[in-house]
Symmetry: C2
Subunit: 474 residues, 2 copies
């Protein structure tokens, strides 16, 4: 599964992104070119500034549904033809839907770039959306939900935790959609969605790889440049959260659960909504508190006390609107969930009371930046960083200045965001519990809780497409 | 404060409502006339089919805000003139906003009825909405929220319980609005709301009292009949709740709280959404379980065990969409909240397991109907029943058939709805707790929990207007 990279991955751009070129086509389509000549490969991505949080009320899932429909036929190309061409030349492709954007990409050799653009520009406007196309694909997304959500107690819990955390903002609604609304999605709604959001002036083209900006510009003008502007869309202003006054909990008890686990979340600002420095401080706070095996939570609960099988924290800073900060833990062996929860709370209380040390902060900054080495070396990661930033109202400059801003965060700022945001009396906790007759075995660990290395357990990530057209690569 | 009557009050119509006359004006305004010649008094109500659940996303509070604005001036009548006229003739007036409707009424002598209609028809379309009118009135609703919600831990808790119970439907949003959204309500939005919803074809006129239908029809044609139709509005289809899989809780700890209390709620169908008989069964279930001092909860917890200061249940069946069923309790003296909660759960479990007896059901039906004697004798209650029913898609026939439908409910049907809806693993609990340094005194009882006679503790009722125009009666 392809996940959009966390903001920490943006660290790479201090190095590789220095010579990024940016321009706008006459029809309003933004273009970003990131030269990378290490290999004869090019990553071609189109990002639409529409995600699940932009869906009309009661039509949840339509953004993701539309991502599927983009793999259907146009007047010019039958369904599957695009994918078959990519497979033929040894490339690969995929797509994903998030709260704030929907993106499509292919990785191919540079000589195939214009062909990709041509196909992509074609399906931007020329899809044939008949009931015969809509019906079977709706069955596919329903089956996808059954398998990914209904089939997973953890996923079911996360959905309701998210809807309990966000009570006014559309991030409360799952990206894949609520089942009862997905079942009713129809052709008229799909066409309306397409006509409103799929247009060059609502899209960002990102090309990274072994090409020159001028070449990309000419190709883009010959392909995307021919597509007419769409409607001018209003600013993406969504309802925001009211002040929270309560401590909330959401508990799922299920026979399929073998070991209990818990999470505790808070609504916090994203990079796009934060006052200067706060998002960077939240990123480093999550790293120090729960980012991987060197973090306080992992060291205290897993290594020293040995009471937890896993514990960590994550902050999803790359959303357009206010987002969440989460801590989590799962007991090891016979240790109770309550002991783990108390120990997690104690670590948070310690940071709120004493802050973090300079040495600790320095190490975290280094670790934080080092952890992005993989991303830095990866062409599609670079394309992802620029695409997701531009698709959520950010700029190339913000991407480039990000490493310096991370380096500028002080220990006092870390303590300040912990004090300001991690208030246990105003939080939302999720509890995943085994049913009475399936008490945990001493050695069992739920697979979804064992990801201490990444510090990312279960945050809602974008949904990858499962294109059903013949020849579509996965 | 004026509350729309619970559905139980509908019992009265079996007697008094037999000769109700109903017709529609040429411009689409529905009219209901309920003759009542016991006294030379007439109740004049206009119900608009718009409430807080119809508000645009992010504009919460605008329905209630508009109710306030209706007391401002028109080209023909200065602000306060309408109210002054009513006061002069010894009448009274008020207004209220609910999730599903907004209503305005006056009670006057029959000779003043046409004047009332004339004023009411005038403000239906001719309000002067300048910034000078909007600004100060917005301050009034903000102050109203501060006093009613921010000033009450119970109200703050209820808001977040409601938003945790309804995660997709707009009933999750408070009728009065979220503070941060109310602060931004402006003239353009008010005008748009007015033009969309305030029109004869979106209104129901109810006249109850010492008048004849033909007289009302002539008067209505001369006043409301002159108002042009508004836009044709689409059906009121709102997002509905996804399947709930979790047990949720919302806890507010506050220094102002002296005795803890709790509630437990479930999403259940309203009369308008239920399959035949289910809503009636839910009404009787709430009566048997927790409607007043003869109910199981009151008898078991308050009278026999003596552990609770109050305990009860209520079902708010009159909404347009799915609604809630709630049980609640508060400890007496040194008894813990946990003991009260367990005892409430035990009573629910007992009904789920054993159902109710025939004798008990018969008594409840009688009690249920008897409890509406006050309503039956009250002219404005009759007007309320017809108005709220018609404003939420119901019919005069439904009102008239209701007592027979209540009488037809069987004990098996009561047990069936308890089994189907009152599942503790899929519920939302609210806990109101004293802060650590304000533990309850043995004799203190929170005033909001002492209403066992009505069986109604804290359900969200419509918000009454606090008109600020000079001379507006309260």
């Amino acid at each position: 599964m392809l996940l959009a990279l966390p903001s920490s991955a943006m660290a790479e751009t201090g190095q590789a992104g220095a010579n990024v070129t940016q321009f706008v086509l006459d029809n309003g389509m933004e273009v970003v070119v990131i030269p990378d000549h290490r290999a004869p490969i090019v990553t071609h991505m189109v990002w639409y500034k529409v995600g699940s949080a932009d869906e009309p009320a009661g039509k949840s899932g339509i953004a993701h549904f539309f991502e599927h429909l983009m793999f259907k036929g146009t007047a010019k190309h039958k369904a599957g033809e695009f994918g078959a061409r990519i497979a033929e030349i040894g490339g690969h492709e995929n797509a994903f839907t998030s709260y704030d954007y929907t993106a499509y990409f292919q990785t191919v050799t540079p000589d195939a770039l214009e062909t990709m653009m041509s196909f992509e520009a074609d399906r931007m406007r020329n899809l044939i959306l008949t009931d015969a196309v809509i019906g079977p694909e709706r069955d596919v997304i329903l089956e996808e939900r059954r398998s990914r959500v209904e089939g997973s107690p953890q996923a079911l819990l996360e959905e309701e935790v998210q809807a309990t955390l966000f009570q006014n903002h559309p991030y409360r609604i799952p990206i894949i959609g609520w089942m009862h609304e997905m079942e009713k999605l129809n052709r008229a709604e799909a066409v309306e969605f397409y006509d409103r959001y799929y247009a060059p002036n609502n899209a960002v083209l990102v090309v990274a790889g072994d090409v020159e900006p001028d070449t990309v510009r000419s190709m883009a003008e010959r392909t995307y440049g021919k597509v007419a502007r769409g409607p001018d869309l209003p600013p993406r202003i969504r309802p925001s959260e009211p002040e929270q006054n309560t401590r909330r909990s959401v508990t799922l008890t299920d026979r399929r659960v073998t070991v209990p686990s818990f999470s505790r979340s808070w609504v916090v600002p994203s990079y796009h909504r934060a006052t200067p420095g706060e998002a960077e401080a939240l990123d480093l706070l999550s790293e120090i508190l729960g980012g991987g095996t060197r973090s306080r939570l992992y060291q205290a609960l897993v290594v020293k006390a040995g009471i937890a099988a896993g514990a960590g924290a994550y902050y999803e800073g790359t959303t357009l609107d206010d987002t969440s900060f989460t801590v989590y833990g799962a007991p090891r062996g016979a240790n109770g969930l309550e002991a783990v929860e108390k120990a997690v709370d104690a670590e948070i209380a310690r940071i709120i009371r004493d802050g973090v040390t300079e040495t600790e902060l320095e190490k975290a900054k280094n670790r934080f930046v080092r952890s992005t080495i993989f991303a830095r070396d990866d062409q599609s990661s670079m394309a992802n960083i620029y695409g997701s930033t531009l698709a959520t109202g950010g700029t190339v400059e913000e991407v480039q200045q990000w490493p310096d801003k991370i380096r500028a965060v002080t220990a006092a700022e870390i303590k300040a965001v912990a004090v300001k945001y991690l208030n246990p009396d105003v939080s939302v906790s999720g509890y995943l519990l085994p049913a009475q007759d399936s008490r945990p075995e001493a050695s069992e660990i739920p697979p979804e809780m064992i990801k201490p290395e990444t510090g990312k357990a279960d945050e809602p990530g974008p949904i990858e497409a499962a294109p059903t057209g013949a020849g579509a690569a996965n």
